[in-house]
């Protein structure tokens, strides 16, 4: 996994709003993408994944969008709740590093009641 030595970006939203968290990747060979949620004091937990043959996948209140042309991935959370407050990481694999994930920087989401 790779990460940069910078503090994580933050996103603050009001309860009930929709949240969009973005992630960029650089390896055009990446073909499998995952979003993780890390609550305070816990390990990252799998949220949703998407393969490169898709550009959209929906789960419960979450949607992942993949734009391979610009190498961009986003996680949309509908009707954000205080329990959604966490750090969100994207991760991806593909090409010669298949099986080993590369992690994005992470975004801190804070939901205000």
């Amino acid at each position: 996994g790779e990460s940069v030595g910078l503090h994580l970006p933050t996103l603050s939203v009001q309860e009930g709003d929709n949240s969009i968290i973005n992630c960029a990747y650089s390896n055009s060979a990446s073909d499998y993408f995952i979003w993780y949620k890390q609550e305070s004091g816990k390990g990252p937990q799998f949220i949703i994944d998407i393969r490169s043959n898709m550009d959209k996948r929906q789960g419960q209140r979450v949607t992942v969008l993949l734009n391979k042309t610009v190498k961009h991935l986003s996680l949309q959370i509908a009707a954000t709740q205080p329990g959604d407050s966490a750090v969100y990481f994207c991760a991806f694999t593909g090409g010669t590093s298949y099986g080993k994930l590369t992690f994005g920087q992470g975004t801190i989401l804070t939901v205000h009641p």
């Binding site: 996994g1 790779e2 990460s3 940069v4 030595g5 910078l6 503090h7 994580l8 499998y32 995952i34 004091g41 816990k42 390990g43 990252p44 937990q45 799998f46 994944d49 990481f89 991760a91 694999t93 298949y98 099986g99 080993k100 994930l101 992690f103 994005g104 920087q105 992470g106 801190i108």
Partner: protein, 114 residues
């Protein structure tokens, strides 16, 4: 099915002391990983293993050692602890190709070196 179990959950070390962070998984995953996460930062890969007897360095291996004698266990050894090793350490496992490529993470070990 416990998933990935890490012990201890918390530890305070004095500078120069050594310790082993334990990690075990019961999912028969062949890949295992150690990450560190400093406050407000992302995950940095320390070491990983693609199977018993095989280990490889990640991006921040200095000051650490690992071994993988069994599929289940992947301990991380800190020799001569330094304040820069104060961090939260996460162990993870995966089985690429079996179902998906996602990792299962443990709950972490919070280490403070004073």
């Amino acid at each position: 099915n416990a998933g990935v179990t890490q012990t201890p959950k918390f530890r305070i070390l004095k500078i120069g002391q050594s310790m082993t962070l334990q990690c075990t998984q019961d999912m028969n995953h062949n890949y295992m990983y150690w990450y560190r996460q400093d406050p407000g930062m992302g995950l940095k890969l320390i070491y990983y293993s693609v199977g018993a007897g095989i280990t490889d360095k990640g991006e921040v291996p200095n000051g650490y050692n690992v071994s993988r004698s069994t599929t289940e266990d992947f301990p991380l050894r800190l020799e001569l602890a330094a304040p820069s090793q104060t961090s939260v350490y996460f162990c993870a496992s995966s089985s690429p190709g079996r179902t998906n490529y996602g990792y299962t993470f443990g709950s972490g070990t919070r280490l403070t070196v004073v």
